[in-house]
């Protein structure tokens, strides 16, 4: 047998290397392997971290560092000097997680390790995180603040009766309107008290502008604003107390009927998409969108030249004297219990979200609205705001913040919201009546999630 010649060795090496390269070459269109689902980290059964009893642990001495994950660390960076002056013992490591924060946190919580001491979480994801058992129960820590936090935010941070996060980013909502458009067509925003008034305004705008100016955009296959305006009436997909599916009750039907009415009367943009909606802010064809306080950020981002031309009022009510606000979006700062630095984590959150000093910086540096009831008295929120043409809009938002009825997202929100979105499409297309569409949606949610 021939000895391995150098040439042969090199040839074999080159062949092997190029085969490896080809094999790892991704992006081969339709791969011939069937697509089994890659499971999330094959984790051994993690020991569920029990809620850390706050008082039992002896206070740690010396410096500690807590880690905070969020997609928006800018305001935390701004207040770090104040925090370090106040509490030099607890250092905070800010990690920017603009990407898939929810998946990462969820994986870490299930695996039992790798979670930070504080994590940002959208309101709608909090039940999912809490359900893993990996978040720390901070009910005792937050007890002194129960009456100071606006009710709906406190509720969104709770799951099955226990509190797992400190609220962040209040989202009181009102009815925006374009001052210039309303003046042009002689509409008085103060007179829009009920949704009947709102539809009438829409018709007036449509007729006077030859069909150009509409109220706002309604999307198909979307759970919003159906669910949000149902919250306005105290309803929702799930009941706040029992967790039962209630999306087929009278309140939801009333909301969907209203949405369908707006659609059929032609007073709203019909499913034009986010991109086009932004364009309507520029050309003034969206005259009166309902929205949270952070809608202003979006408008400023897409149509900065319209700043100063907007005003905001409480939402119309479903019946005279009813609630005139609701929430759109919002987030929490949850406390996973893995690092056992729960006390320290809470003290940081206490400063940033539950004190006037911290909340003020959250607002000035991050446009994150305070979650404290008392904010309505703060001078910083009592000033004219240029975007709203000098209106003292922040005071209005602070007042509305306390009026939002608590609602429940629920653990099954992702799936349920999709089913509800389909119901909206059925109703808007006229294939089912609002009542039927919601009845079917509720039935499907109950069946798929094993609820009643």
């Amino acid at each position: 047998m021939r000895r391995l010649s150098r040439r042969l060795f090199l040839a074999q090496g080159a062949a092997g290397a190029s085969a490896l390269l080809l094999a790892t070459c991704a992006g081969q269109p339709p791969t011939p392997t069937p697509a089994p689902v890659k499971p999330a980290a094959p984790a051994p059964a993690p020991t569920a971290t029990p809620a850390a009893a706050p008082a039992a642990k002896p206070p740690a001495t010396g410096e500690v560092t807590i880690t905070l994950w969020s997609w928006f660390n800018k305001p935390f960076t701004a207040l770090m000097p104040k925090w370090n002056a106040k509490n030099p013992r607890v250092k905070v490591n800010l990690v920017d997680m603009s990407g898939e924060i929810h998946q990462k946190v969820l994986t870490a919580l299930t695996a039992g390790s790798g979670a930070p001491d504080i994590t940002g979480s959208q309101d709608y994801n909090l039940p999912i995180l809490a359900d893993t058992g990996g978040l720390a129960d901070i009910s005792r820590h937050i007890a002194p603040y129960r009456d100071k936090i606006v009710p709906y935010k406190l509720n969104n941070g709770s799951y099955k009766g226990k509190v797992y996060s400190v609220p962040w980013d209040g989202s009181p909502s009102g009815l925006y309107h374009r001052r210039d458009v309303f003046e042009q067509y002689k509409i008085d925003p103060e007179k829009i008290e009920t949704y009947d008034d709102y539809v009438a305004v829409g018709k007036k705008l449509k007729d006077a502008s030859g069909g150009k100016v509409k109220l706002f955009n309604i999307a198909k296959e979307a759970w919003s604003p159906l669910v949000n305006l149902t919250w306005q009436q105290g309803g929702g997909i799930y009941a706040a107390d029992s967790g039962k599916v209630i999306i087929d009750d009278d309140r939801a039907v009333r909301t969907l009927t209203l949405i369908k009415r707006l659609w059929d009367e032609g007073v709203v943009h019909q499913n034009i998409g986010g991109e086009a909606t932004n364009a309507t802010y520029k050309d003034a064809t969206t005259a009166a969108p309902p929205g949270a306080i952070w809608l202003a950020n979006g408008i400023v981002g897409n149509a900065p030249e319209t700043s100063g031309k907007w005003g905001v009022n409480p939402l119309p009510a479903f019946e005279k004297g009813g609630t005139r606000t609701t929430a759109f979006g919002g987030s929490q700062l949850a406390v996973p219990g893995q690092g056992k630095l729960v006390d320290e984590a809470f003290s940081f959150l206490e400063f940033t979200q539950l004190s006037q000093e911290g909340s003020t910086i959250m607002w000035t540096d991050g446009n994150l609205f305070p979650v404290l009831k008392d904010a309505v008295n703060w001078s910083i929120l009592n000033e004219p705001v240029a975007f709203y043409g000098g209106q003292k809009a922040l005071k209005l938002y602070a007042e509305l913040n306390s009026q939002i009825p608590p609602y429940t997202y629920g653990k099954g929100f992702l799936e349920a919201s999709r089913i509800v979105g389909s119901a909206v499409t059925f109703a808007l297309d006229g294939k089912k009546s609002p009542k039927e569409a919601l009845a079917d949606a509720a039935k499907e949610i109950r069946q798929k999630q094993g609820l009643d």
């Binding site: 074999q12 490896l20 790892t24 392997t33 499971p39 998409g273 999709r418 499409t425």
Partner: protein, 304 residues
């Protein structure tokens, strides 16, 4: 001579002989090592998961074939398979014809042949996510070129993604644009194996270009065409990125765009039913194998 051979074998040390035998396997082992972890293990593990209930984010109790029984009566699964099949029934023939036509044209000596081939191939190397976002804008935004062209014919500018009947044709068009380059390459490779003498002989006998295409090119390309069709079929059932970005996990109005890949994704990552999702994935795998075997059978018959 034999004596010399025996003598030289005895002279080669055994360590070197072992190395000679082992060397090829060692060279290919990195690939198989990675494949074992990231390829074979998930395939096997997810089969195992499909026989279990999924609790929270961990494997739960053993339920045998219950997940498979469930999917036989699940309307969402039926809808996903029907949708995918419907799209495939249009897409696969259209893609085959289109890519074969392009390949036939571009196999000749044209002046800017390289430019055309590159241009047609560019969409293939684009990210699926980018393609999805692009087409979402193209079909949904009233300001897109698509709506601008429609406006010339007096049609309203609106989000066509909201129309149920539009979704499947839109997906077919998007996929044709995306993958025609890669299928064209496959066809080109096949065409180039056909000997030019056959075409010359046909020309001498008076055959036109079209006739030689149908009587020489296609029969000799039968296996290559089948290969491309099988790849397209498999791709159909694995489809996810582009569709997800155009219609979202809901599948669009009345779930018109709900393809099997989308269903697996949302069952796993929205409802956290990994056991059931694994069962769906395996069922889809069985469908793909069945369809592939059918296509091979028919192509073998044509090749003869």
């Amino acid at each position: 001579m034999a004596g010399t051979l025996v003598a030289s074998t005895r002279q080669v040390p055994s360590a070197s002989r072992l190395w000679l035998k082992a060397a090829p396997y060692l060279f290919i082992s990195p690939f198989y090592f990675l494949f074992a972890i990231f390829g074979a293990f998930p395939i096997g593990y997810s089969l195992w998961i499909s026989f279990h209930e999924w609790r929270g984010l961990r494997v739960g109790e053993f339920v045998g074939l219950r997940n498979y029984a469930l999917l036989l009566v699940d309307p969402a699964f039926a809808r996903a398979v029907v949708n995918t099949a419907a799209i495939g029934l249009v897409y696969v023939p259209a893609m085959t014809i289109l890519s074969l036509t392009f390949a036939a044209i571009l196999s000749r000596e044209l002046r800017l042949r390289g430019v055309y081939r590159t241009g047609i191939f560019l969409p293939v190397v684009t990210s699926g996510v980018a393609v999805g976002i692009l087409f979402q804008f193209f079909f949904a935004s009233p300001y897109s070129p698509f709506n601008a062209v429609l406006g010339l014919f007096g049609l309203p500018a609106k989000s066509w993604i909201g129309e149920e009947w539009f979704i499947k044709p839109a997906i077919v068009v998007m996929l044709l644009w995306r993958w025609v380059g890669s299928n064209m390459m496959i066809m080109l490779a096949g065409i180039q194996t056909i000997s030019q003498e056959l075409y010359e002989a046909a020309r001498i006998d008076g055959a036109s270009g079209v006739q030689s295409f149908f009587f020489i090119t296609i029969p000799l390309m039968a296996r290559v065409i089948a290969f491309a069709m099988i790849l397209s079929t498999i791709g159909m059932f694995n489809l996810f990125d582009e569709v997800y970005l155009v219609v979202g996990s809901g599948g669009g109005p009345y779930e018109a765009g709900l393809v099997t890949g989308l269903l697996i994704y949302r069952t796993a990552f929205e409802t956290f039913k990994f056991g059931y999702a694994s069962a769906i994935a395996y069922a889809v795998g069985v469908i793909i194998i069945a369809l592939s075997m059918l296509q091979i059978f028919f192509s073998e018959r044509t090749a003869r």
